[in-house]
């Protein structure tokens, strides 16, 4: 065992000293994200008009990740002065020229990864606090995920990406060959507390104290995922327990999607038809790309908690900061760490389903400690969210808990095989959620995907467990107009026999592939098949696609629906990234074809894996980048089809 220092253990015995330490060690020097070797996880645009030959576009030669959809470390927003390195070096800072990192506000050069923290009895020098950067916020800095709703007013115009300590970042992609930053929002850490009844209160903050990459504790926001509703509000969820922020576009970002028109947001009304674009329907909007050369904007630096650093004010974290965005509403979510926000229209109400990481917290409604599951809020009036319910997650091992993903479909949109089925589902809404996350070999078979009847969102009722005895469930997709669900998971070989058992799949990194069901009747799931990248099937042939053997596990599929007939699958999460483009119809029907092998669904042949594939590609930087999200943008340019993929790697 190694502790801070030989003299510290005795010192730490005294609560008085603890207090003193708290008061003398500034936040700004306790963490360092920009350690040597960290990859600049970012977002990219690929032209996939020719699916067999995808092409990276909107490249920035000055950017270490070769993309214009990126956020430099420093608040002066130039790569050159931050990293001083060539674009070929896929590091933010630290290797090529550590002096530049220090200029950006990064830490003592002797601080290396995995070193214990500096002796808190010694007041460290404050290295250029005035020249702050995202590097020294301490938490993870880089992209994580993009919006996935095909909301027409924003579709093909904006790329909206969550960026951990960088908040949510918005890029103008109307001219996709020259994308540019156009808006951001960075929440402030919630240092004023999680009140026992849900609101801010005096006392310890909601924001989790969390590690940087070097054992240094930090207390900063981590914007995890971002999503839209069909009014155009933008919802961000915080991994560090800071809660949910509801945002809207302003200024130039709003004009980019609306011209100069008034805001004209959609209000709850029976007159508005339910959206018919994915995942609710199959009618994908058409983006209209242009060649207009717009000025590259320099985002203003965020506001700081200490506007003027001094001996008495050394907090280098951003305060709430916005550029062409503004905060509309907020909820603490009881301080639960949140992975994904999902907001759907249910009748005249907008209901937010906030999908949590594993953990425990106190439910404001019951004042009971509950395992993290799904928080449900009424956000019809976004300035005043109302917390309706929390569906607890699974008990038992924390490893197996959490419900990170949610999709909701209306029973009136899901197809039915009979009038009786349609009548039974009429007026109902169904929540599909992953149940558990990473039991893996530690606790195999404890996970599943569940369906709840959330017709009354304040009183959800468990309807069924779609696929029990899984491991490593995660980021699913559910087509409401067809019922087809692409569930991310892996089967445990310890599971008891069942029709959809598919053991023996191979993955590197995350142990996940896709299990496909038809959930048109949520109470009666119908298994279709398992799928993944070639080389992941149980009986591996002579082909192994991707960068490693076995290929990296999937993170999340996005289906463009029946009309476009494509499914996009991102593999690798944060490294060894691969994106695969698949023919949806061949994928769904391949194992029911007359010439399909006997075990095609659970254990397909190599040919059956290859048959639906239309293309695949790896990401810039090869092993450094992973496939977290791949969002398709179908469009036209100069009267010809032009289709893009927005690909995000997880930092």
């Amino acid at each position: 065992m190694r502790i801070l220092g030989p003299s510290l253990s005795d010192v730490l015995r005294s609560p008085v000293v603890l207090l003193l330490l708290t008061s003398i060690v500034p936040v700004s020097v306790l963490a360092q994200e920009c350690t040597a070797g960290n990859a600049p996880h970012a977002a990219w645009l690929y032209d996939v008009t020719d699916e067999a030959h995808p092409r990276l576009i909107s490249e920035d030669p000055a950017d270490p990740a070769r993309t214009r959809l990126n956020v430099p470390d420093g608040f002066n927003y130039t790569w050159d002065t931050i990293s001083g390195q060539s674009p070929s070096q896929d590091t933010h800072c630290g290797i090529a020229n550590p002096a530049h990192c220090r200029d950006a506000g990064v830490y003592p050069p002797s601080l290396t990864p995995q070193d214990p923290p500096p002796d808190p009895n010694v007041q460290p020098a404050l290295p250029n606090v005035g020249k702050n950067g995202f590097c020294n916020q301490g938490g993870r800095f880089g992209a994580h995920s993009s919006t996935e709703l095909f909301y027409p007013p924003y579709y093909g115009k904006l790329a909206i990406v969550s960026w951990f300590v960088g908040g949510v970042r918005v890029f103008d992609i109307r001219n996709p060959d020259a994308a540019r930053p156009i808006a951001y929002f960075i929440p402030a850490p919630n240092d004023t507390g999680c009140g026992p009844r849900g609101g801010p209160s005096p006392g310890p903050g909601c924001t989790f104290a969390n590690t940087g990459r070097d054992n240094h504790m930090v207390n900063t926001i981590h914007t995890n995922n971002v999503e839209l509703d069909d009014r155009g509000y933008i919802y961000i969820a915080d991994r560090a327990g800071t809660g949910m922020h509801i945002l809207r576009l302003t200024g130039e970002a709003w004009r980019a999607v609306s011209g100069d028109a008034d805001r004209g947001e959609q209000e709850p009304s029976d007159d508005h038809p339910l959206p018919d674009y994915p995942p609710y329907g199959s009618h994908v909007p058409t983006a209209h790309f242009d060649h207009t050369v717009r000025p590259q904007l320099i985002p203003p630096p965020p506001k700081m908690l200490c506007p003027v650093p001094s001996a008495s004010c050394t907090d280098a974290r951003p305060a709430q900061s916005a550029w062409n965005m503004e905060l509309v509403g907020y909820d603490t979510l009881d301080g639960r760490s949140t992975y994904q926000p999902l907001v759907v229209r249910q009748g005249l109400r907008y209901i937010a389903y906030m999908a949590h990481h594993a953990g425990t917290a106190i439910n404001r409604l019951t004042l009971a400690s509950e395992t993290n599951g799904t928080s449900i809020l009424d956000v019809t009036h976004p300035a005043h969210p109302v917390y309706l319910a929390h569906i607890p997650g699974p008990g038992g091992s924390l490893d197996a808990a959490g419900n990170q993903m949610a999709h909701v479909c209306s029973g009136d949109i899901l197809p039915s095989n009979s009038p009786a089925e349609a009548a039974r589902k009429h007026g109902h809404y169904y929540l599909l959620r992953s149940n558990g996350n990473s039991s893996g070999s530690a606790n195999p078979g404890a996970e599943s995907h569940q369906i709840f009847d959330v017709t009354d969102p304040a009183h959800p009722v468990l309807l069924t467990t779609v696929a029990p005895q899984l491991t490593n469930t995660h980021k699913s997709w559910w087509e409401c107009d067809t019922g087809i669900a692409f569930l991310v998971a892996n089967d445990s070989s310890l599971a008891s026999p069942r029709a959809d058992l598919a053991p023996g799949w191979h993955q590197s990194g995350s142990n996940q592939h896709v299990k496909i069901y038809n959930l048109h009747d949520p109470a009666n799931p119908e298994y279709i098949r398992d799928f993944g990248l070639v080389g992941q099937q149980p009986n591996v042939g002579d082909a192994v696609e991707g960068l490693v053997t076995p290929p990296t596990g999937i993170h999340g599929p996005i289906s463009a629906g029946k009309e476009k007939n494509r499914v996009y699958l991102a593999y690798g999460v944060g490294s060894n990234g691969v994106v695969e483009i698949v023919d949806r119809e061949e994928l769904l029907t391949g194992c029911t074809a007359a010439d399909a092998s006997a075990h095609c669904a659970a254990s397909p042949t190599q040919q059956e894996m290859l048959a639906p594939q239309r293309g695949w590609f790896t990401l810039p930087g090869l092993t450094l980048q992973g496939g977290h999200t791949s969002f398709p943008i179908f469009g036209e340019e100069d009267g010809k089809p032009r289709n893009l993929l927005l690909v995000v790697s997880e930092d």
């Binding site: 609560p15 708290t22 008061s23 808190p120 026992p196 009844r197 327990g241 990473s438």
Partner: protein
């Protein structure tokens, strides 16, 4: 039986103090007992287990387990609320994949945070990287 006004006033005041106390930060984590810093300092960083910490400090106010596929930090954190003469504070304990406490830190309402003790990170054994069960 009747009470005089001073007694009634006192009873009402006591009742209100209980109501208000239920909203006070220190009383919110009803599941946990009062945090004692002398017990916090007994946690042996680098060897203490989850069970050991729970036995020492009781049930945490809040926990998280990220379950990341792409691990760059410890995945499991426990938080306790405490208060002393200076006001409220949080104690955060981070566990590695084997459930061993690796870092302890203290946060005060202003957000200021200090690492109290830390042990070197173990070799990664994150389950997502591991082999499937035989």
């Amino acid at each position: 039986m009747t009470y005089g006004w001073p007694i009634v006033f006192l009873m009402v005041a006591i009742a209100w103090s209980l109501v208000l106390a239920s909203d006070a930060p220190g009383s919110a984590p009803a599941a946990s007992r009062e945090l004692r810093m002398d017990l916090v300092t007994k946690i042996s960083i680098g060897s203490a287990t989850r069970a050991g910490v729970a036995k020492l400090l009781g049930r945490p106010w809040r926990t998280v387990h990220y379950g990341d596929c792409n691990t760059v930090e410890y995945q499991e954190l426990w938080e306790y609320w405490g208060h002393d003469v200076t006001g409220s504070f949080k104690i955060t304990i981070e566990f590695d994949d084997a459930g061993i406490a690796r870092v302890i830190a203290r946060t005060v309402p202003t957000g200021a945070i200090v690492v109290l003790a830390a042990a070197p990170a173990p070799q990664s054994s994150h389950q997502h990287q591991g082999k499937e069960p035989e």
